[in-house]
């Protein structure tokens, strides 16, 4: 039983399209305008909402045209008479927004097109007979193309389908030789040729692409047989419960979610079931024998009662799972577009959305509904009229403690409504109801208000994105903004970002970035003007990368503009790679230096090194001291020879000398390479080396490489006093050092006589305390004592102490009346030296008195 009634209202302010079906009951619904055509299918209502009066004016309607419309209110592509091949009258490819506004139009110059389709990112795919697929953007500019395989050129594409899966947009074709080829993601093209289908000649009677268990398969029928073809095999299948007498399958379709399958047989039966062919939902006899032109699933997410829309030239039929059908006459050729939550029906004059009415809307708008939402709506209406009935209604809801539920229903229903006045009425009612609740979270109300405002704005015919709230939620705000940006609705996108208070990074900045990237492609404006415009708008917006924009400009061949834009880039690191790409290496170098990132500088330098000839390279570095010194460091570790050239070029004598010095040590061939203009110390060193070599040759002394001091030491140790003496004079060694050296050396060799002779050779420049101490170090107290007398008065005490002569030390200290010296002696005294201690203490006391 089809229990169906339709409500028809004609209120002046709304454009209402009503299509009545079955028997219609005209009711003036006490409430207000509902621009719906409702019909019941058991307990399910379907509504057909007019979306747009199409802005286009198509001469011949949609007849003889290839039409592709993208879901989610996507654009419509139209190729008129695709098979007209005479070069004099090429078919026209037209792209429209969903509301029919022309976006692009151009004559089709390539080969015959079999199928049009849209990718998930709103790019148009044109699949040609020869298997090549041409990709255009929304504005009709060619992006790229790919081929579905070489063999297709011969066998030709007979039919093709564009499908969407979690992996992206895919293309499936069937060739004249009955072979299927699949590409699951056109952005990552991997062609898969499916196995042959037994007994298939030419194209199958109908087929569909399925995505199941991460696999893409083709379901096809050949006469009465049904096959599933996957990568490796072709399996014959039988849909459960399909009566054998129904004949062969002539049309099939899968749902938006790939979960459901509908098959249409030549006996007019429509079988529905799960797409894995495990379950049957229903089988309806449509009583129409001809295969439908189009067949589309119509359901909303979570609904348990899916239905299928079949369309013939003059008839639209909705078949549910409960054997009932609803029929609409159609006067014009239409195209059905399956959506997530319904079907869009596009005709040459207008566009409608056919969908299952959401439960909550049914609850509220059902005749004589007692749902809390409905009562609240009524209450509010009465309240507006200042009627006391408002209170009665409210009381009724409150008695059932359903006010929260009522508000929630009104808010949710508002989200689903397409008509702005209905939205307002529902939201007002919700807001009214909210007043009587104390702890109701306003979040859903606020977000619904905001989202509806955005949806209403994008639904405007001038924008033409007829999204439902469900679709909007599914596609997310980010994607919506991307789509608006892609369609170049920059101001609207920015308004939305600001209105919804999206952080700049994800919102406004992103829009500006796209805007700027688009702006730099405007050929009619001068570089100067564009740079200024971009800078003015983008300014310091966070997250907008000027280098990204510049890269775009460079891509379009506007190098000068790119450089101008790069100037605004704050991150030098970002500037450099692009500058190198544009062959502005000098500028790249200075930017790299500016960034302070030495790795970046190294990168540019090594790039330059490969790009330039050596002379230019060095000259360039010379102008960039930071880069130069980094390069020097690099050379020091990696290319010593280059280092020399660098210093030579810069006339850096100091560094050059250093280089020679370390080079000579490295090679262990000393003084072979005479550095230019040697300084006195270097001359000395060379003199020393000559001397050492001579002596090594003569006496095998092994002196080479020793320092002067070490050489003298070695000579003295070997007893070569004369030679040591010679060095001492030749190299003007200070007396002090020489004396120390000789003193130590003699003491070490215990040549005490020689030492005494030496001490008397002249007055010691290092004093005689040194003699005492050195002797003591060799444990020769006897010799040490000899020198104590020669020590200056100031050091006498120390000298006496050094040889352990406490008495002498005490005498000297007392003589000098030096308190601290006395204390020093005292500290060395032990208990056995009591007499001495007393003496010292007395002397100390008397000194202190004075």
């Amino acid at each position: 039983m089809l229990c169906c009634f339709s409500v028809s209202l004609t209120l002046c302010c709304f454009s209402v399209s009503l299509t009545l079906c079955c028997f219609s009951v005209s009711l003036t619904l006490c409430c207000f305008s509902v621009s719906l055509t409702l019909f019941f299918s058991l307990c399910f209502l379907y509504s057909k909402t007019e979306l747009y009066d199409m802005c286009w004016s198509l001469k011949d309607g949609l007849r003889d045209s290839l039409v592709a419309a993208a879901p989610y209110g996507g654009p419509i592509a139209l190729l008129r008479e695709p098979h007209r091949r005479s070069p004099s009258s090429r078919p026209q490819l037209e792209i429209y927004s969903a509301s029919g506004l022309s976006i692009a139009s151009f004559p089709w110059k390539s080969g015959p097109v079999v199928q049009l389709g849209w990718t998930v990112s709103d790019e148009l795919l044109c699949i040609q007979e020869d298997g090549s697929v041409l990709i255009y953007d929304l504005f009709g500019s060619f992006k790229r193309h790919f081929s579905m395989g070489q063999e297709v050129v011969q066998s030709q594409v007979v039919q093709a389908k564009v499908f969407h899966s979690p992996y992206g947009t895919g293309v499936a074709i069937v060739t004249g030789s009955s072979r299927f080829t699949l590409a699951t993601n056109i952005d990552d093209l991997k062609l898969r040729r499916l196995p042959e289908v037994p007994g298939l000649q030419g194209a199958p009677s109908c087929w569909a692409v399925l995505t199941q268990d991460r696999q893409t398969k083709v379901l096809l029928s050949n006469g009465p047989d049904l096959y599933v073809v996957d990568n490796t095999s072709c399996t014959a299948v039988v849909p459960p419960g399909l009566s054998p007498q129904v004949g062969s399958i002539v049309h099939m379709c899968v749902s938006f979610s790939y979960k459901y399958l509908a098959l249409f047989t030549d006996s007019g039966h429509l079988w529905t079931g799960s797409s894995n062919l495990q379950e049957k939902f229903s089988e309806v006899d449509t009583k129409v024998r001809t295969p439908p032109k189009q067949m589309v699933w119509c359901r909303r997410p979570k609904s348990q009662q899916p239905s299928v829309v079949c369309m013939w030239d003059r008839l639209l039929l909705v078949a549910g799972v409960c054997n009932d059908t609803i029929q609409f006459p159609v006067d014009d050729q239409c195209v059905c577009v399956g959506e997530l939550d319904g079907v869009r029906i596009i005709s040459s004059t207008h566009q409608e959305l056919l969908q299952e009415v959401p439960l909550v809307c049914q609850d509220i708008f059902k005749i004589a509904s007692m749902a809390p939402g409905a009562l609240l709506l009524e209450a509010h209406r009465e309240y507006e009229k200042s009627s006391q009935k408002a209170d009665e209604y409210l009381r009724e809801i409150k008695e059932q403690s359903m006010l929260g539920e009522a508000v929630r229903q009104c808010v949710e229903a508002a989200g689903h409504e397409y008509d702005t006045n209905t939205q307002k009425a529902l939201l007002r009612a919700a807001s009214f109801g909210k007043c009587f609740l104390t702890d109701f979270s306003p979040d859903s109300f606020v977000s619904t208000c905001r989202e509806l405002r955005v949806l209403n704005a994008v639904r405007e015919p001038s924008v033409g994105l007829p999204l439902t709230h469900t679709q909007f939620k599914q596609m997310t705000l980010q994607v919506l903004i991307d789509r608006l940006v892609y369609r170049q609705f920059y101001p609207l996108a920015i308004e939305i970002c600001r209105f919804l208070k999206i952080p700049d990074y994800q919102g406004v900045s992103r829009v500006l970035k796209h805007w700027a990237s688009c702006k730099v492609q405007q050929k009619d404006l001068s570089d100067e003007a564009i740079a200024r415009a971009v800078c003015l708008k983008v300014g310091d917006s966070p997250g907008v990368s000027y280098s990204h924009i510049a890269a775009k400009a460079y891509e379009c061949g506007r190098t000068e503009l790119a450089i101008k834009l790069l100037d605004f880039e704050a991150r030098s690191g970002e500037q450099v790679p692009l500058l190198l790409k544009m062959k502005r290496s000098q500028l790249a170098l200075s930017k790299a230096v500016e960034s302070g990132d030495t790795d970046l500088v190294y990168t540019v330098v090594s790039y330059l090194k490969n790009e330039m000839n050596r002379g230019d390279f060095f000259m360039t570095l010379r102008n960039q001291p930071v880069a130069l010194s980094l390069y020097r460091q690099f050379c020091k570790l990696q290319e010593q020879d280059t280092l020399k050239d660098l210093f030579n070029q810069d006339d850096d004598h100091q560094e050059l000398a250093n280089y020679y010095v370390s080079a000579s040590y490295r090679e262990k061939v000393q003084s072979c390479d005479t550095p230019p203009a040697p300084c006195p110390v270097t001359e000395d060193e060379m003199k020393l080396l000559r001397f050492q070599r001579k002596l090594d040759d003569e006496k095998g002394a092994g002196l080479l490489g020793l320092s002067l001091q070490a050489t003298m030491e070695a000579l003295l140790a070997l007893g070569l006093h004369k030679q040591a003496e010679q060095l001492y004079r030749d190299f003007k060694v200070p007396d002090k050092r020489y004396w120390w050296l000789k003193l130590k050396s003699l003491a070490e060799k215990e040549e005490w006589e020689e030492l005494e002779k030496f001490s008397k050779s002249k007055k010691s420049p290092i004093g005689y305390l040194a003699f005492v101490e050195v002797c003591m170090k060799s444990h020769n107290k006897h010799e040490a004592t000899k020198y104590v007398s020669k020590v200056t008065p100031e050091q006498k005490v120390k000298a006496h102490l050094a040889v352990g002569d406490l008495e002498g030390a005490a005498d000297a200290a007392i003589e000098r009346r030096n308190e601290s010296e006395m204390a020093a002696v005292l500290s060395r005294c032990s208990a056995s030296d009591r007499l001495l201690m007393d003496r010292l203490n007395r002397a100390k006391a008397s000194t202190a008195k004075k």
């Binding site: 040590y665 320092s707 050092r737």
Partner: protein
């Protein structure tokens, strides 16, 4: 484990935790068992971030040191190279990878660049044909490492050398990046002051980086009020002087590396009864030094002459605490006593350690040589006879004392005299070359390039002016109960810290003249804070300054800053950051060139 990091004014443990988190994330990226191949230089700094236990938790089973040839065999799934981005290391890695392939094993390779990945190195790996062998190439941004509760170090040894000798500002870039990380965690620092070329460069980079991040406004309430960037070459004198604080002396004598010191073992022998004293431990005693140790935190910054008293006072307190046990009568009292035992025992062993260290140091500080050296240093700092050849230096050269000691003194004389006269300079140079060998001419050139040794060009020596204006010499430094920062060098107040002190009060405007005499520009920058983040200061609440020493800082300088933080009326607390903790010896060493060691 690193609780001491969070006790300070600024909780530096946040930084450490952030670093650990990132390390864990990287390790988890390489699923399965792993072996780490270390660039040896990195192990020390990493030790401050994560112990082996953390690595073990993330399936690190083996650790190797990066060296040429074939990798040691280890039954692990992943080999991870932890390396600095240096070309020579890339060549070694390439060699490792090549020899690995021959063995037909299927270990996965990864590289973690510390502190930053480098295109140059990746290019090198590509040239060597091994870039494709690596599954993960990542960077581990480890710039500022929390070293102690108030101290951050980059552990970047060659920073001074690179900046002043080689004009390589890589370290400054890392510094700026590190400061950006710090600001991301602790809020934007509203005021930046600086003195010196490098400071200017770092500040410029920071401001530029801030612009790059524009938009992602930092919403953290600023912890630091001020950042002060100081070039080491503004104050070359301080590191040359011998530090006289406890910690400073430990560093001068034994060297503190990444927070650890190795000491001669003799003094630490466990004297157990019945054991022959012959088998003394031969391994050096390794101790970790940081403020986690209560006693150390107390005495580290004292002048060494005040350490003895502090130690004996502590000894009394501890023994008194142990005596408490006799008073414990009731079970409850005994229980309480026992509960304190672990802490007391730790305190006692800590006391024993430091008494031993103090004894070791005292042996040296009371020696004549130490005294003579110090006397000459102080003469130079007070400006006595700085324009003549110093006889003590002459004698030291004649006796062939260690070269670094000579260089420290000569450089000090040069700095205190604003350069040496040609005659004096030439004399020293000849003496050094003739005694220690001609090859040291490269080192001398380096010191000249770095400004530590120079020819007096202008006839005027401005060091006395600087000394007087900034009161760098305090005649009556009180070592026991200091009232001025000069106690850290027993008379000399470090120039760098005086600049810091004056900046806080009364401000640099009062010393414009002196600032002009010191090298490099001085500057002030402000960073805008987002509205609502301006601090509402409580009455008497101290301000916090981050002092960043570019090119290294000494322990004595840190001690001086801590002293300033603790001064009641200073109103300022200091957090210290640096490229590396240095002393005169390590500093000069980093500037030396040995031709042999350069040979490939």
């Amino acid at each position: 484990m690193a609780a001491h990091l969070s006790y300070g004014r600024v909780n530096l443990n946040i930084l450490r935790e952030a670093a650990r988190k990132e390390l864990r994330e990287f390790l988890d990226k390489c699923a399965g068992s792993k072996a780490i191949v270390w660039d040896e230089y990195l192990t020390g700094p990493f030790g401050l971030i994560a112990q082996y236990s953390l690595l073990k938790e993330h399936e690190v089973e083996k650790m190797f040191t990066l060296k040429r040839g074939r990798l040691p065999s280890a039954d692990v799934k992943n080999i991870i190279f932890f390396v600095r981005p240096r070309l020579e290391l890339m060549d070694i890695i390439a060699e490792n990878v090549f020899s690995e392939d021959k063995m037909h094993s299927s270990r996965d390779f990864h590289i973690l660049f510390v502190p930053r990945r480098s295109m140059l190195c990746e290019q090198r790996l590509k040239e060597q044909g091994v870039l494709g062998s690596f599954i993960n190439i990542d960077e581990y941004i480890l710039d500022l490492i929390p070293y102690d509760g108030d101290l951050l170090s980059m552990e970047y040894e060659s920073a001074f050398r690179e900046c002043y000798l080689e004009n390589d500002q890589t370290s400054l870039y890392h510094t700026a990046k590190g400061l950006m990380t710090l600001q991301a965690l602790y809020g934007t620092i509203p005021q930046i002051y600086g003195k010196g070329e490098c400071a200017r460069h770092v500040a410029n980079m920071m401001l530029r980086m801030k612009r790059e991040f524009a938009g992602s406004q930092n919403q953290i309430l600023p912890v630091f009020d001020t950042l002060l960037l100081l070039d080491r070459n503004v104050d070359l004198l301080t590191p040359l002087a011998t530090q006289l604080t406890y910690e400073g002396l430990i560093d001068e004598i034994y060297g503190i590396n990444n927070g650890y010191v190795k000491l001669p073992p003799e003094k630490f022998a466990q004297k157990k009864q019945g054991e022959a004293s012959k088998d003394l431990p031969t391994e050096p005693k390794k101790l970790q030094l940081n403020s986690a140790e209560e006693l150390y935190a107390e005495i580290r910054d004292k002048n060494f002459n005040a350490v003895g008293a502090a130690l004996s006072k502590k000894a009394k307190i501890i023994s008194a605490a142990f005596e408490e046990r006799h008073n414990a009568k009731t079970v409850g009292e005994i229980k309480q006593f026992v509960s304190q035992l672990p802490h007391m025992q730790a305190a006692r062993s800590s006391l024993a350690n430091h008494t031993s260290i103090a004894e070791l140091i005292k042996d040296i500080t009371t020696s004549e040589a130490f005294f003579d050296n110090l006397t000459v240093e102080q003469e130079f700092m007070t400006g006595v006879d700085t324009d003549k050849v110093n006889t003590y230096i002459e004698d030291c050269i004649a006796q062939k004392d260690p070269l670094i000691k000579i260089l420290r003194l000569v450089c000090m004389q040069s700095v205190c005299n604003n350069g040496l006269k040609q005659k004096v300079l030439d004399y020293y140079k000849r003496e050094i070359l003739q005694t220690y060998g001609y090859e040291h001419i490269l080192t001398l050139n380096n010191l000249e390039k770095g400004g530590l040794l120079k020819l007096q060009t202008s006839s005027r020596n401005n060091y006395p002016t600087i000394r007087k204006t900034l009161k760098l010499w305090m005649e009556d430094a009180n070592e026991q109960n200091p009232n001025d920062i000069s106690y850290v060098y027993s008379g000399y107040a470090p120039l760098s810290i005086r600049l810091t002190q004056v900046l806080a009060r009364p401000g640099w405007r009062s010393i414009e003249e002196v600032l002009k005499m010191l090298p490099g520009p001085h500057f002030e920058e402000r960073q805008q804070l987002p509205a609502g983040l301006h601090k509402k200061r409580q009455q008497g609440e101290n301000r916090t300054t981050l002092v960043f020493f570019l090119g290294g800082v000494t322990y004595a300088e840190i001690a001086a800053l801590r002293f300033l933080s603790q001064m009641e009326d200073s109103g300022m607390e200091y957090i210290i950051a640096t490229t590396k903790l240095i002393n005169g010896t390590t500093w000069i060493k980093s500037l030396m060139d040995r031709p042999e060691s350069q040979a490939p």
